[in-house]
């Protein structure tokens, strides 16, 4: 921070500080130091005064001491040599009869963060652990954690660790909790503080003495304990019941988290605990602090994944107030969608409709797509509202409604007629590319149902030169060709113009390649084109995916009560897992990542050069694309494209975007692209460790089939056996950014799914 005259200020201050007259007058000395600190807070670089301040440290005045320590801790790292001078004073202070001075000295000694000083600090710290004043012990205990943090690779002193363990029995609750914290830090390599039965019971008995911070800490650390018997488990649970309904949200959440980890083997008890926290959680949603409300909402979303009916009758608590910030409104809308049932759907939709005209555009969009999602179960009412919204002729609303309708129509093909009549004539209002993209898809697929489509497309084609979005151009191509298939006479001329433009003048490779593809396809004849472009209408079997099954609690319990659920998109909502049709998956409007680009541009190159593994489940290629897709989506893998069943070579392209759930320190996701290839030929080369899994599974499978097949003819059995013995699916994976763990996890999930499918 540049500060005018900062050099003068420092010079003046130095002059005054070194004036012996000032030094002898306590009040003046103190005031001068105050000025130094003020200058420091204002961003002036006063580090030049370090040696003067070190001198000022030797004083009996506590007020002055505190001020000087603030200064020293801020600049110690810049002056390691001079800091050595302070140590003497600090060590002397550690002998002071006043416990406040002792704790102050000890704390600042450890706050200097200088590895070179460690040897001088250890002795006072050891003495501090045995100090008779609790406030000194508190500081000393954490001091050891700080020391360890300074030199993480140093030997852990067993004597200190033992002493810290024994201090868990300290009469002061804060000392006890600090011991836990320090041990966690020091023993991190070994997995943190060891929790055995006596320690657990001791901590539980003293839980009530701690303040809320301490309680949360204890509850968190107890998560590692595994009770030895069921009796003990239930004793612990009943002891914790009071904390479970604590009015302090952090304590309640920490207790629930502990409950869930203790009851991981008893899902019924876990669910009962969720029921029990309903009241406190709802209360937390009405907390005066918005941030706490937001946190509570995010955690409620987690709970709803396992117990969708948890908040059903309390839906009114999730209605949005006018002045609430957008982040709360959007989470509330997401929760509301989960709470829809036959009784409240009318009121809920009415409420959501009100949010669609919110001033905040993203809130409005969230409300509109929420209505779309409710539309999967209550399509008539929702379509009525959506159509009504189109009547408002608001640019962004129309665009969002069209996108929502596209997604809805894919899941509920029976709505197509209503949707088609609704979207007619709204092209003028849509300006953004995602909205136009959705509109074009609808027009292309349902071209025969809307009379005015050729005119609409003509407008688009005339303006193709000024079109900026690649996605819209590609969709326009597809839509026009599709329309040509069902209404050739009206479309032929404009299709010709469009193809000509795209092939001759378009600079973007993707667009011109696609145009070329269609051009050549049309050369092969109408029937061929129809085969390729005939739109895959959604399958009624997709219906099973609408009602999301209740997940087991341990799917999310490890992120409960952390930062994770608060991150946008951390909680997989239904709309994320099952978007619209896979056809527009590549251009799925996801505002915060450029997934679509990565996919469309790098796909061809990446897949082949990636890592490859073999999975032995050859019958998979007989499986229908729909069931494959459905199964993949259940484990959050998206299929991009696949060849029809029973064709050779058989290929599937898929991707997933994983959140890193393994380490607490990083929160980055990774994108994995995959290709499944089944050529029908024998695999020669086998690679890597995962192969073992494949082999085992293959052998299991062979045995299984052998047993199953005994009833059938012998020849049949032999053929199957031969097949399985020789052929496998080749899996090629490409990942960015690199994350070995996630890749392995993904492969094992994929293998499981493939095995499950092929055994069906």
């Amino acid at each position: 921070m540049p500060y005018i005259g900062s050099e003068d200020t420092v010079r003046d201050l130095r002059r005054v500080l070194s004036n012996p007259n000032v030094q002898s007058d306590q009040l003046r000395y103190r005031n001068t130091i105050l000025k130094v600190i003020r200058a420091m807070s204002q961003g002036v670089d006063v580090s030049g005064l370090f040696s003067e301040m070190v001198k000022a440290c030797a004083t009996v005045d506590i007020v002055q001491k505190k001020l000087v320590y603030v200064f020293l801790c801020s600049y110690a790292t810049l002056n390691p040599e001079l800091s050595l001078l302070v140590i003497n004073t600090l060590r002397k202070d550690c002998q002071d009869p006043n416990p406040m001075v002792r704790s102050l000295a000890l704390r600042n000694m450890t706050n200097l963060r200088l590895p070179s000083l460690v040897e001088y600090v250890e002795q006072p710290l050891t003495a501090g652990l045995r100090d008779r004043a609790a406030c000194v012990r508190r500081v000393a205990v954490l001091g050891w954690a700080k020391l360890h943090n300074l030199q993480t690779n140093s030997e852990i002193d067993a004597a200190v660790v033992n002493e810290l363990y024994s201090l868990l029995r300290d009469p002061d609750p804060v000392v006890m909790v600090n011991c836990l914290r320090a041990l966690e830090e020091i023993l991190r390599e070994e997995g943190g503080v060891a929790i055995n039965k006596p320690i657990t019971h001791h901590l539980l008995n003293r839980l009530k003495e701690c303040d809320i911070w301490g309680q949360c800490e204890v509850l968190r650390i107890l998560q590692r304990y595994r009770p030895q018997s069921e009796d003990e488990l239930f004793n612990i649970l009943s002891l914790l019941d009071v904390s479970l309904i604590s009015p302090h949200p952090p304590v309640m959440a920490a207790t629930l988290s502990l409950f869930l980890s203790l009851c991981s083997g008893l899902p019924a008890v876990g669910l009962a605990a969720l029921e029990r926290v309903r009241g406190p959680l709802l209360a937390a949603c009405g907390n005066t602090s918005r941030e706490m409300q937001f946190t509570a909402l995010c955690h409620i979303q987690l709970l709803l994944r396992s117990l969708p009916g948890l908040m059903g009758e309390h839906y009114k608590r999730f209605f949005c107030g006018y002045a609430e910030p957008a982040y709360i409104k959007q989470r509330k809308i997401e929760v509301l969608v989960e709470l829809v049932n036959d009784d409240n759907v009318a009121i809920l939709l009415d409420e959501l409709r009100g949010y669609c005209t919110d001033v905040n555009i993203s809130t409005a969009h969230a409300a509109i797509s929420a209505i779309g999602r409710i539309g999967r179960s209550y399509s008539d009412k929702c379509l009525e509202i959506l159509t009504e919204l189109l009547g408002l002729k608001q640019e962004h609303i129309t665009s969002a409604v069209v996108q929502t309708m596209r997604d809805l129509v894919w899941v509920c093909p029976q709505c197509s007629r209503t949707v088609c009549s609704a979207v007619e004539g709204c092209e003028a209002e849509i300006q953004d590319s995602q909205g136009r993209h959705a509109l074009l898809w609808l027009l292309g697929v349902y071209g025969e149902q809307v009379s005015s489509v050729p005119y609409t497309l003509e407008v688009f084609i005339d303006g193709v030169r000024s079109e900026a979005s690649v996605g819209v151009k590609m969709e326009l191509l597809t839509a026009t060709v599709r329309l040509f298939l069902c209404r050739p006479a009206e479309t032929q001329d404009m299709l010709g113009r469009l193809l000509h433009y795209c092939i001759e003048e378009e600079t973007n490779m993707c667009v011109s390649d696609q145009a070329l593809l269609y051009y050549r396809l049309l050369h092969c004849g109408i029937e061929e084109t129809r085969k390729v472009l005939q739109c895959r209408r959604s399958d009624p079997s997709l219906g099973v995916l609408i009602g999301r099954p209740a997940e087991p609690i341990n799917q999310w319990s490890y992120i409960f009560n952390t930062l994770e659920p608060l991150r946008p998109g951390a909680i997989e909502t239904e709309s994320a897992t099952i978007g619209g049709s896979p056809e527009h998956m590549t251009f799925d409007p996801k505002p915060n990542n450029d997934l679509s680009d990565t996919l469309s541009y790098s796909f061809g190159k990446t897949v082949r050069s990636g890592e490859s593994e073999h999975v032995q489940c050859p019958t998979i290629f007989r499986c229908s694309p729909q069931s494959l897709q459905a199964a993949m989506q259940l484990v959050n893998i998206q299929t991009l494209a696949f060849t029809p069943p029973h064709t050779l070579p058989w290929r599937v392209y898929l991707y997933t975007n994983t959140q890193n759930k393994h380490s607490a320190d990083t929160c980055h996701g990774t994108l994995i692209l995959g290709e499944l290839l089944y050529t029908g030929e024998e695999i020669q080369k086998k690679s890597k460790d995962e192969e073992n899994v494949g082999v085992e599974a293959r052998q299991d499978k062979r045995e299984e089939e052998r047993e199953e097949d005994t009833a059938e003819g012998r020849s049949e059995k032999e053929r199957v056996k031969k097949n399985t013995a020789e052929k496998g699916i080749k899996v090629t994976l490409k990942q960015q950014p690199r994350d070995e763990k996630a890749l392995k996890g993904f492969l094992s999930v994929l293998t499981t799914v493939l095995h499950a499918l092929s055994s069906e």
Partner: protein, 427 residues
């Protein structure tokens, strides 16, 4: 928990004061905070958690300050927010108002407080009365500081010191309930969307020595426990007590017994989640004739006991931002146009129960339409009804026992206030 550092920023994002607790996150990271916030604001997606690389900012806003905690761990979010609010609470107790100016005036105390409140990213002493022992600065103007605070190490009752003397022993009990409600006019009679009552019992104690107090309420659980069944009772949820209340006694037999802190304090707070009739019901008709005028008709009806009177009632009706030339007619009270907030404020000094009042307003609209999108702000109502509680909670007795056996007088006062009391309009 693990907050790596705590920052206090002004509205422009300049660091006023900061404290590095762990040293595992670069202090310069805070420079990204403001730009991230602006970016989110532009997209309309402000969020209390923001990430830059693997550093997460968790922040709250208080008057003209941002309080930010940084972390690079997957830490416990609710605990961090609780701590930030605790900071606000402690600072406010020290400086009365927590704002940029008070931080700058008291930066030394802020340093001291930050030092005591947290160590190595873990909250330590957060009770403001205990904190006083450690704070040396005289600049800290904590009112209660007059009485000498006992050392927590020796005294069992950390919130009250011995040897307090009053000539006249009195205790004042205020029962304050505020109603938060969200109403919507679904049809002519309207239905209440959600409402809850947040109540608190405040004490002002002027008692000598170490008195033992017992408070009796018409708590339904207590009545059921003792088998009594007469009169009106209330069911309280989420009861929170001051630390002086013996929780074990309350849990076992619902007795609220305590040694009170001296002076003013909040003894307990509770929430009651029942459907109550809106105390002041508003019907509104807002007719907007584009390019010419807006006609507003608001009818307010007091739906509480005839004996009670609501004081200082304020009905705030939103009007379009481009409205001009206001004209009003009211059956009682007076209406005022507040153009900077786009509101008509209708004030009624005293509003007896069961009565109904009317206000009409007329505004002109310019012929050129304002094409900025405007939301539909609700009508908000403010009021205060003394000698009345919505929940019907009652202080049945307050027993005061002290060794010296003096006589002390308890005074009880009830008041109902509007909290966040909104009624949606039909525009």
């Amino acid at each position: 928990m693990s907050a790596s550092a705590i920052f206090v920023l002004d509205l422009k994002g300049k660091v006023l004061i900061c404290r590095n607790y762990k040293g595992d996150v670069d202090m310069a990271e805070i420079d990204h905070f403001m730009s991230l916030l602006m970016q989110h604001e532009e997209e309309g997606l402000i969020c209390p958690v923001m990430a830059h690389g693997n550093v997460h900012f968790m922040w709250i806003k208080h008057s003209n300050l941002y309080l930010v905690a940084t972390t690079n761990k997957n830490s416990n979010a609710s605990l961090v927010y609780s701590f930030l609010y605790k900071l606000v609470e402690v600072f406010t107790e020290y400086f009365k108002e927590l704002e940029e100016e008070s931080i700058q005036d008291n930066f030394v105390v802020v340093y001291e407080l930050l030092d005591e409140l947290m160590d190595f990213g873990f909250p330590q002493t957060t009770d403001s009365k205990i904190l006083q022992e450690y704070i040396t600065q005289e600049g800290a103007k904590l009112e209660v500081a007059k009485t000498k605070v006992p050392t927590t190490v020796t005294n069992a009752v950390s919130w009250r010191s011995e040897g307090i003397k009053y000539k006249k022993n009195e205790v004042f009990i205020d029962v304050i309930e505020s109603i938060n409600s969200l109403d919507v006019t679904v049809n002519a009679n309207g239905s209440v969307m959600s409402s809850d009552i947040v109540g608190s019992i405040k004490l002002k104690t002027m008692l000598s020595g170490m008195p033992e107090l017992r408070l009796g309420l018409n708590d339904r659980v207590l009545f059921a426990l003792t088998g009594r069944d007469k009169g009106k009772t209330v069911v309280m949820e989420d009861v929170k007590f001051h630390q002086c209340v013996r929780l074990s006694r309350f849990e076992s037999d619902r007795t609220i017994s305590f040694i009170p802190p001296d002076g003013e304090s909040e003894l307990m707070s509770y929430r009651i989640n029942t459907h109550v009739k809106p105390l002041i019901w508003i019907e509104s008709v807002i007719e907007k004739f584009s390019h010419s005028r807006v006609e507003i008709m608001v009818k307010a009806k007091g739906q509480f006991k005839k004996q009670s009177v609501a004081n200082n009632v304020e009905v705030r009706v939103p009007v379009p931002s481009d409205a001009d030339s206001p004209k009003f007619k009211t059956s009682t009270g007076h209406a005022k146009y507040v153009p900077e907030k786009n509101l008509v404020v209708w004030t009624i000094k005293s509003f007896p129960g069961g009565k109904e009042f009317l206000m009409r307003a007329h505004f002109g609209l310019p012929s050129v339409e304002n094409d900025e999108a405007e939301g539909k702000p609700p009508i908000t109502v403010k009021f205060e009804i003394p000698y009345f509680t919505v929940s019907g909670i009652q202080v049945r007795y307050m027993k005061i026992i002290e060794k010296s056996g003096y006589q002390a007088l308890p005074w009880v006062r009830y008041i109902t206030q509007s909290g966040d009391y909104q009624l949606r309009t039909n525009v």
